[in-house]
Every structure is written in structure tokens, then in C-alpha cells.
């Protein structure tokens, strides 16, 4: 066997192993995200909704007090702040629709990045049908990134375009070696990205809340119910406060 053929076998072996690793890492990440989202849903349904009610009662109490003293700027400001907090909480728990994010700012740099990407990847510049399809798919991603003002994503697509293994069409050993090298580099990037994202997931409050709750549940506790119980007691206290605020 020729030395370059041996090298190709080695590279393809490395590529296969990396593919396996990337699949596992991405699967683990998606699983974590889904499980966290499920937990979040459960949390909002059991405990979150009580915090929302609590904030709404606080807003009503502050409002009742503000109505009694219309000339007191502090009472007015408090009522406004309590109202905003109640709205934020309801939004977070998904009880009212979140206000749409403001449209992104189109900076000159963003435009510049878009131009560069379009020049490189435009489907019209393709000479073969598969190449045209590949470019069309990439441009769709560039357009999406531009619409959301994501300059970094466009820059990443440009880099990836230049190193895309799929461009290499030849089936000779040399072409296959280059293709494998590019594919390996691409896989390493994806692996690093998945690992970083997993790390970031672990740092989020919702993930830490989930871990703590699940740990306590594994020990035989029922922390979500305990928390709900405690909040319900606070709610009945608030209701009394609200009544007296109204009638004083």
C-alpha cells in the first residue's frame, strides 16, 4: 500500500471516531436542553405561577396605596415598579405574551459581512447543480443571520464556506485526503462548540435549580411542593394586606 493510502485510512478512521464523538456530544446537549425545558415547564406550573400571583397581589396593594395618596410621588413610583415586576413575572412564566424583541440594529459592519458572504456564496455563481444547491442552503443561513443582526454568525459561515469539505469533488487519494482533513477540522469545531454550550447550560440558574430539586427528590423530599406550600401561605397573608389596604 502506498504511504498516502495509509495516511488516508488513518485520517478516515480519525474522522469516523470524531463523528461518533460529535454525535454523542450533540445528543447529550440536546437531551440536557430538552430535560431542562421540561423541568422549567414543571417549575413554572407548580411554583412559578404562585410567584406570579404574589407579584400581582403586590401590584394591587401598591396600587391601592397609590390611589389613596395621589400626590405622593413615592407611592406612585412604587405602584409603577410593582406593576412592571408583575408583568415581567407573568411574561417569564409564559402567562402573557412576551413583548417582541426590538428589531436588530443594522450596522455598517453587518452590511459589510453580508456583502462579503453574498459575493462568495451566491448561487448564481455556481457552475454545477449540487454546487448551486449547496450555495442556496448557505445563503438561506446568511439571510437569517442578517435578519437577526447576527454578524458573528455570518462571519462564521464565511470561514466555514472557505473550509467546506463538500467542495472537494475529486475521488482520487489526494482529494480524499484533503476532504478528510477538512471534515476533521469541521468536526473538531463542532465538538468544541457542543462542549462549550453544555458548559454554559450547566451554569444557568434553571439548570442548577433542576439539579438541586432532583437531588432533594432523590433523597425522598418534595421541595417543589414545600415551596408551593410556603408561597400559598404568603399569598393568603398578602390577600389580607390587600383587603386592609383597600378599606383603610
Amino acid at each position: 500500500m502506498l504511504p498516502e493510502e495509509q495516511e488516508l485510512i488513518r485520517l478516515e478512521g480519525e474522522q469516523a471516531q470524531l463523528e461518533e464523538e460529535v454525535t454523542s456530544a450533540e445528543l447529550a446537549l440536546e437531551t440536557t436542553k430538552t430535560e431542562t425545558a421540561q423541568f422549567q415547564h414543571r417549575y413554572y406550573k407548580t411554583v412559578g405561577r404562585l410567584y406570579v400571583q404574589l407579584d400581582q397581589l403586590d401590584a394591587q396593594i401598591a396600587n391601592a396605596q397609590a390611589e389613596k395618596s395621589p400626590d405622593d410621588p413615592v407611592a406612585q413610583a412604587r405602584a409603577q415598579a410593582a406593576h412592571e415586576r408583575a408583568r415581567d413575572s407573568a411574561e417569564e412564566a409564559g402567562f402573557i405574551e412576551r413583548q417582541p424583541a426590538p428589531p436588530p440594529v443594522i450596522t455598517p459592519e453587518l452590511k459589510q459581512a453580508y456583502r462579503q458572504a453574498a459575493k462568495l456564496m451566491h448561487p448564481d455563481r455556481a457552475t454545477t447543480e449540487p454546487e448551486r444547491l449547496r450555495r442556496t442552503a448557505l445563503m438561506t443561513q446568511v439571510n437569517l443571520a442578517y435578519e437577526s443582526g447576527d454578524q458573528k454568525a455570518i462571519e462564521k459561515l464565511i470561514v466555514e464556506y472557505g473550509q467546506d469539505p463538500e467542495v472537494i469533488a475529486g475521488t482520487d487519494v489526494a482529494s480524499r485526503i484533503v476532504k478528510a482533513i477538512r471534515r476533521i477540522a469541521q468536526l473538531r469545531r463542532r465538538l468544541a462548540e457542543a462542549q462549550q454550550e453544555m458548559e454554559a447550560q450547566h451554569q444557568t440558574d434553571i439548570f442548577r435549580l433542576k439539579t438541586t430539586i432532583e437531588e432533594t427528590e432523590a433523597m425522598g423530599g418534595d421541595p417543589l411542593s414545600d415551596l408551593a406550600q410556603q408561597l400559598m401561605e404568603e399569598l393568603s397573608e398578602r390577600k389580607i394586606t390587600l383587603e386592609s389596604a383597600k378599606h383603610r
Binding site: 417549575y43 413554572y44 410567584y51 415586576r85 440558574d205 435549580l209 438541586t212 432533594t216 421541595p223 415551596l227
Partner: protein, 181 residues
């Protein structure tokens, strides 16, 4: 010789980490509420107790800390010493250090400098930086061991090399250039 203000302990309790989001999101509020959840602490205490009974040195050390700080259980220095000793006898360096501290400060046991130095020594031999510093101080003051300035500097320098600020300031106070020689 400089003494630390409180009995130092090093076991890491499994605590709920403080929320990173301080804007008061519903999730951060839940995390915050759990930090104060006494029921959770009691459950955790039982879990650690079970593992400690089965001979897990880390659990024994943690149980010692729970008794010492009164988390999940009624504060009890005698029980703390009991569990720290179990872990220390299994070679757990930070438990050896804390047990030395219990003798040093006379908590849960009668004050005994010889015992304190003995346990600090065991931990110091395992590169426990706080124990190295305490042992150095005991040699310098001739407490629990015969006064020996050479040994004092030897152990203080070891701690200083690991970045222990107390050891560094003690050595500097003695006018010793610990970075060289």
C-alpha cells in the same frame, strides 16, 4: 503567633449555589428559597450520615462539618470530633487538619496541644497548606512540640510556597526572605 479567628474548616458542603441572576427572575427566586430550605438540609444530613456510617471518608468529614456548623442537625462539637476523627484516621487530610484544630481550640475535646500538633503534622505531610502553616506556628511557639525555629521556617515556607497569606506574612514578620535561599 498569629492565630486564626475562628476554627477553620475545609470540607465542602453540597450547598445550593447562589443564583447568578439577581434581577429576581422566578428561577433565581426559587434557587434563593431553596438555600434557606431547612427540610432539604435535614434530608441531606440523613444521606451524608448513611454514607458516613458505611465508612465513606469524605462523607464522614462532611458530617463532621454539619455537626460543627449545625446544618441539618443540632450543633454538636462532640459529634463533630467523632466524625472528623473517623475521616482523619482514614487519612483524609482536611479532616486531619480540622481535628487538629478541634484539639487546638478545645472544641468537643479537652484542649491538647500535643494532639493538635500531631494531627496538623499528619495533614501537613499530605501537603495540606493550612496545616503546614499551623504546624510551623506551633514549632515557632513551642506549643505541643519542642520549640524549633528550623522546623517552624521549614513548614511555614512550605505553606508560603503554596500561597498561604498567613504563612507569608509570618515569614515576612520574622524577616525571612522565603522566596530565595
Amino acid at each position: 503567633m498569629a492565630d486564626r479567628e475562628n476554627l477553620p474548616t475545609k470540607a465542602v458542603t453540597r450547598d445550593v449555589a447562589a443564583p447568578t441572576d439577581h434581577r429576581g427572575s422566578l428561577v433565581a427566586r426559587g434557587l434563593f428559597a431553596l438555600q434557606k430550605d431547612k427540610k432539604r438540609e435535614v434530608l441531606w444530613f440523613h444521606k451524608v450520615h448513611e454514607a458516613a456510617e458505611q465508612g465513606d471518608a469524605k462523607a464522614q468529614e462532611e458530617l463532621g462539618l454539619m455537626y460543627l456548623t449545625g446544618r441539618g442537625v443540632e450543633q454538636d462539637d462532640v459529634q463533630a470530633v467523632y466524625w472528623y476523627r473517623k475521616a482523619a484516621e482514614q487519612g483524609n487530610a482536611s479532616a486531619q487538619f480540622t481535628l487538629g484544630g478541634m484539639y487546638d481550640y478545645g472544641r468537643g475535646v479537652t484542649n491538647d496541644d500535643v494532639q493538635a500538633a500531631c494531627w496538623y503534622r499528619k495533614a501537613a505531610d499530605q501537603s495540606d497548606v493550612l496545616a503546614q502553616c499551623e504546624l510551623g506556628c506551633m514549632y515557632y511557639g513551642g506549643r505541643g512540640v519542642a520549640k524549633d525555629d528550623g522546623q517552624a521556617v521549614y513548614w511555614l515556607r512550605k505553606a508560603a510556597e503554596q500561597g498561604d497569606t498567613l504563612a507569608i506574612s509570618v515569614l515576612e514578620g520574622l524577616g525571612i526572605d522565603w522566596k530565595n535561599t
